[in-house]
Amino acid sequence: MRILLALPAALLAGTLHAHGLSHSAQPGSAVIVELRYADGSPFSYESAEVYRPAETVPFLVGRTDANGRLAFVPDRSGDWRVRAFSEDGHGGDFTVAAAPDGRASAPSAGLGTLGGLAVGLAVIFGIFGIWSVFVWRRS
């Protein structure tokens, strides 16, 4: 009789236990990617995906936080792909070189806005200036 009562109780206990969700806070290193608009304001609460190197199934799907940040804990080394989208077409698709110990390096930020503007203006005036010289000589 006891066995008959104990058996469903054990099964029920196992089922109940399966609905539990353990949690732990682990000290460790995550890669934090910060996304900002060109004016410096955070790319907040937007859709984002992270992919393991050379994989097409997302490793993480979620949203950026209020500060436009996204964190993931890499479990292998390589170029991790990060994609972020807003509904109005802003966002990016880039890779971050990351390793399980948290070391990460994003692609170089390049010239920066002011440097890029200066070089762009120089190129525009350079092209039209040289062209003007040719047109002036021809005429």
Binding site: Y37, A38, D39, S41, S44, Y45, S47, R83, F85, S86, E87, D88, G89, H90, G91, G92, D93, F94, G110, L111, T113, G116, L117, V119, G120, L121, V123, I124, F125, I127, F128, G129, W131, S132, V135, W136, S139
Partner: protein, 209 residues
């Protein structure tokens, strides 16, 4: 307004490259035909203005940001083909130097902004300017902001239907037309008011010179 790299499928940007290449060839011929000592300095200054305007992001309520383009000004002063040529140059420089837009998506951005925006601006201007010059200039600026936004919203919104996995997951930009049309258009309808005003001010200033 620029679509970034990685948002569009090759089924979208490869045909766009073919279409834009034809447009660039025609625009180059038009440039060679019209070029003289007076055109080039004006074209250089207004191209530089467009480059700077497109780099200055204006934050809007709701967490998004927009930028003016100067396309209405270029279209009224030089017509659509020269505008298409110089806006393509600006977009290429923005992709390479500022990380705005991208090289794969360049023809889509160029066709939407440089050609779609400038053709709409010229039509609006020609329709209204004979009766009321300033209304024509304002319409040119407003249309140069709103029409490219509508074209870009359609291209983005079609991506889930164009490129997806067997189970329907989008491979590129994930939101459909019902999301992109209001999300892209509404801020640009507001931005268009500023672009229209800028077009009136700059073109009126240039004509007084």
């Amino acid at each position: 307004m620029h679509i970034p790299d990685g948002f569009l499928s090759p089924q979208t940007y490869l045909p766009a490259y073919a279409l834009a290449a034809g447009g660039w060839a025609y625009a180059a011929r038009e440039l060679r035909r019209r070029v003289d000592e007076t055109l080039l300095p004006r074209l250089a200054v207004l191209t530089a203005l467009a480059f700077v305007l497109m780099a200055v992001m204006l934050p809007l309520p709701g967490g998004t940001s927009v930028h003016a383009s100067g396309i209405g000004i270029l279209a009224v002063v030089f017509g659509p083909w020269l505008t298409f040529a110089v806006v393509s140059l600006v977009l290429l420089l923005q992709a390479l130097l500022l990380g705005a837009g991208g090289v794969t998506v360049l023809p889509v951005n160029a066709l939407a902004m440089g050609l779609g925006g400038s053709v709409a601006a010229c039509l609006g201007y020609r329709l209204l300017a004979p009766r009321w010059e300033r209304a024509g200039l304002f319409a040119a600026g407003w249309l140069a902001a709103v029409v490219p936004a509508a074209l870009i919203a359609v291209v983005l919104g079609l991506q889930p239907a164009i490129a997806h996995t067997i189970d329907g997951q989008p491979l590129f930009f994930p939101f459909g037309l019902a999301v992109t049309l209001p999300a892209v258009l509404v801020p640009h309808v507001v931005l268009g008011l500023g672009e229209g005003l800028l077009t009136v001010l700059v073109v009126s200033f240039l004509r007084r010179r």
